[in-house]
Amino acid sequence: MTTTKNETLGESGERKEDVKRQKLMEDDDDFEKNQALVKEEVVDVHSLMRPYYAHIFPSKQLFEWLSYEGATSSKESRKDQQQFIQNREFCFTLKGEIFVRYNSYQDEKSLRKDLKTKVPGKIDIGPVFSHNPKNRLAYGGSFKPVERELVFDIDMTDYDDVRTCCDQAKICPKCWPLMNCAVKVLDVGLREDFGFEHILWVYSGRRGIHAWVCDERARKLSDEERSAVAEYFSVFKGVEGGGEKKKTNLSFGSGKRAWGGGKMHPRLEEAYWKVLKPFWEKEFLPAQKLMESKKHFETILSMIPDANVRQKAEFDFNTNKMPTVSRDGDVDVNTWRWQRIVKAVEDELRGPKVNWDLTSCLQRIIFSHVYPRLDAEVSKHMNHLLKAPFCVHPKTGRVCVPIDPENCDAFDPFSSDAPKVHELLQEYKKFGADENAVKKTAMGKALETFERCFWSKLKVANEEEKKKKMMMNNNNVLNESNKNSNAAADMEF
């Protein structure tokens, strides 16, 4: 839609002045022009937001989730419950990139009402604060965030140096699997290592994915502890020299290889063997054709600390050596070239003198290309906003929908798996009077994923938490009544 508008603009701009203006704009600043284009789409998507909030947006589910019934511990838990959700910040982005921070709601009804009147293009979710954010000024310094889901943000833009298909905000089926790779690595790690169970994965609506870790323990992590978890999962540390050198913070055991030396941290070992290595060899190399691109091939070579191996690989590349079809008909040339490198490294290592760096270079190459690249800053602070699930991406019109982590390969962001807002509204119209109309649209599937992969389990946990706290409260009442005042406690500072 944008392109057509742009073309008409160009064609109708025949008057000299217009042409001149247009020219000026191009010379002046490409960026500005892009901005202009994007804005047009914003307006377009924006006009659909009102009906979207009115008919389709699942504010009930969102609100129910963020209320964490059972999260509070008081005897008057109903009142507390309301206070808990009331202290949660919702940030709206209104038309024209105006941020309205510190909105808060006591119930779903008031949220819905506000959505109707303000019609935000985007909703971000902030932390639960110590007090109602609306009254924050009255509390001064004691107003601060007290809890918030542990969140992760992974953007395809951070993979530009390893993608040959797209760049920046663009994604395509050839690079999207990088995101699946990230889901697989992180989801297992969060569950197995940290014991988290309630993780909501969502497609951001444009070029990446988010994870919301909602276990009570995760929500209560301090900023330092969040940073630690984020760093635990951060391996790739950026590129130097125009994408030449890729840095990782891998560390390998020292000592003799014979007794376990050379291994990485167990989490990384598992990620490597179960996810990264197969993905790299079978999916990523053929899709991105890295071993056919001079630039990427050279980057890989530069990470091999052995001249013999490099020479062999270069020979294959320069003579354009191909796998012989007779032996294995469907071998991809990229995979094949990689396997030749692997073999060359192994041969070299069998030699008399061991080059320790060489033993780990294959791991370093694979990690630096396909290991999840977190935007760690997002995870590190409780007080950080993140786009709410189910809201519409203002630039693509796609809805931010849940992904089933067990089955992430099946999620196709180019299909109705990630429905566009105008499609949803059309579908909705079709089912019109039906009271289950929303369920019959593509949103139905998204809600089913939400329920099955996330909410159903969280709901049970909330219930249990509630019971536990009620019991504890009862006990406390008992204890309190026969407790003597403790003199020492007076001085407790």
């Binding site: 014991g195 390998f252 941290h265 800053e377």
Partner: protein, 500 residues
């Protein structure tokens, strides 16, 4: 099976066997008020000694020795009543402002560290299990995780020897008894480095990594408790039976540790300062009363009409501390900076005005930043073309000698002072300068802050508070306009929004 009571008693016995306290139980004994005061003052002496040792750059071993000695001479043996009581007394005395808390925390952590280091292996293990609630691993779990634990120990960067010796070290260290099972949150530093095995929310920590953790734990707990103490102070003051302690505690703070943090109270003509200062007075005051660090920056900005970031920061905060209002500071820096070719008013507004306002807590996080202490200045490492830091450290011997001679200090004293500076006793050297230019008057309680230097100097040179002398002038100073609260505050607290 031990009963609860037996367990408690066993724990109590263990507690007595190791010589370090986390101060998690307030002392329960009755003591006399005089004792209370004496213990508290003794601890102030101990902590001050630690602080001074730190700022004069003592090595860890020297510090360790010093702490041992002082502890003995002041009779503050770990876990004695005196030790416990004095710690709690000082918590109260130091809890009231951020900078006092930081000061207290730093010295207490050093004290704890020194005591922890003195502890023997077996005692250490008992301490870890009882005080920190670390659990040892059971053998079934150890069998299951043995190999992974080994892999982690092998690749961990933060502990154990490197290179050839590591193999030997690991052979002897990789035992069940050497591992502890703790919530991962408690050892987040190790988690962050991936230097620990993490399973289902628990981290399996090797003994060799515990020391560092204990320190952070101690620091975190104390820091939190200080915050709590500050909050509860009022309630404390009101309770009748405590009321008699209050004057003692207050005097601890004001007399012995009377360290104002030189915040913007001064720039607002607040109580702790010596009144408001105006631009036209700066030149004179710089000559009369600035310590060398501030003099140096002041001279640099007058000559070069520019200062790099760190220098601007140090000078701005210092000037705020002596009572220069924001408006005056803006005028001062603008006048100087725009004298430099290539810097017009517009550039100043764009590049530098923000920084000035920031220093005054009117931008960014709106924190009322405190002026740099001597320690902070000394810690700085200015490069060529920068003038911040402490000149006693940064100047060459010749340059320092020249600067002192310019201040009309006699040659024999100059030699002395330069020698002190060369031996890294920067603050002592600076105090000597004070003495030399103030007719033998010296700085009460030792020099620790450039603004303290200034205030003492004003007191000596101008015993009447300048409040009566030029009160009228002061009223001519425009009061800073109130911020347009709502909008600007929201804009300043720029939301960290993640674009998807």
């Amino acid at each position: 099976m031990l009963t609860e009571k037996e367990k408690r008693e066993a724990k109590q016995l263990d507690r007595e066997s190791y010589n370090v306290s986390l101060y998690d139980q307030p002392p329960n004994e009755d003591i006399k008020l005089e004792e209370f005061e004496k213990y508290a003052l003794d601890r102030v002496r101990l902590l001050t000694a630690i602080e001074n040792a730190l700022s004069s750059g003592k090595k860890p071993e020297e510090l360790q020795e010093l702490i041992k000695e002082k502890t003995k001479s002041l009779k503050l043996e770990p876990k004695s009543i005196a030790d416990e009581v004095s710690h709690y007394a000082l918590r109260l005395a130091f809890c009231r402002t951020e900078s006092l808390r930081r000061q207290f925390l730093t010295s207490e952590v050093q004290l704890f560290k020194a005591r922890f280091r003195e502890m023997k292996g077996a005692d250490k293990a008992k301490f870890i299990e009882h005080e920190l609630d670390y659990n040892s691993m059971d053998s079934k779990e150890f069998e299951k995780l043995k190999d992974e634990l080994m892999d982690v120990l092998c690749q961990a960067r933060s502990t154990g020897p490197r290179g050839k010796d590591r193999e030997q070290w690991m052979m002897s260290e990789h035992k069940r008894s050497k591992y502890y099972k703790v919530k991962f949150e408690n050892v987040y530093q190790l988690v962050k480095m991936r230097d620990v095995l993490v399973k289902k929310g628990f981290a399996y920590v090797h003994e060799s990594a515990v020391d560092a953790i204990v320190m952070t734990e101690f620091r975190a707990k104390l820091s939190k408790n200080l915050g709590l103490a500050a909050k509860r102070w009022n309630a404390f003051v009101e309770s009748d039976e405590r009321a008699r302690l209050v004057p003692v505690i207050n005097s601890l703070r004001t007399k012995e540790l009377g360290r104002s943090d030189y915040g913007s109270d001064n720039a607002n003509g607040g109580p702790s300062g010596t009144g408001i200062v105006l631009n036209k007075e700066l030149q004179r005051l710089a000559e009369e009363s600035f310590p060398l660090c501030a003099k140096n920056l002041f001279k640099a900005v007058k000559h070069e009409h520019h200062l790099r970031h760190e220098g601007r920061r140090q000078l701005q905060l210092y000037l705020k501390g002596i009572g220069l209002p924001l408006e005056e500071a803006l005028v001062f820096f603008k006048t100087e900076f725009t004298k430099k070719p290539g810097c017009n008013n517009e550039k100043f507004e764009k590049d530098y005005a923000y920084g000035v306002r920031h220093s005054y807590g009117k931008e960014g996080k709106r924190v009322d930043y405190t002026p740099h202490s001597c320690m902070k200045c000394i810690a700085a490492n200015p490069s060529k073309g920068e003038y911040h830091g402490c000149p006693f450290k940064t100047f060459s011997e010749e340059a320092l000698g020249a600067a002192l001679s310019q201040m009309k200090i006699e040659p024999s004293k100059v030699t002395d002072i330069v020698k002190k500076a060369k031996n890294k006793h920067y603050q002592l050297a600076c105090s000597d300068v004070f003495e030399a230019v103030h007719g033998g008057e010296f700085i009460e309680g030792g020099l620790h802050h450039p603004n303290q230097y200034y205030e003492q100097s004003r007191k000596v040179l101008n015993p009447k508070t300048n409040e009566d002398s030029d009160g009228k002038e002061k009223q001519a100073v425009p009061t800073p306009p109130q911020q347009k609260e709502e909008q600007t505050a929201a804009a300043a607290a720029a939301p960290k929004v993640v674009a998807a």
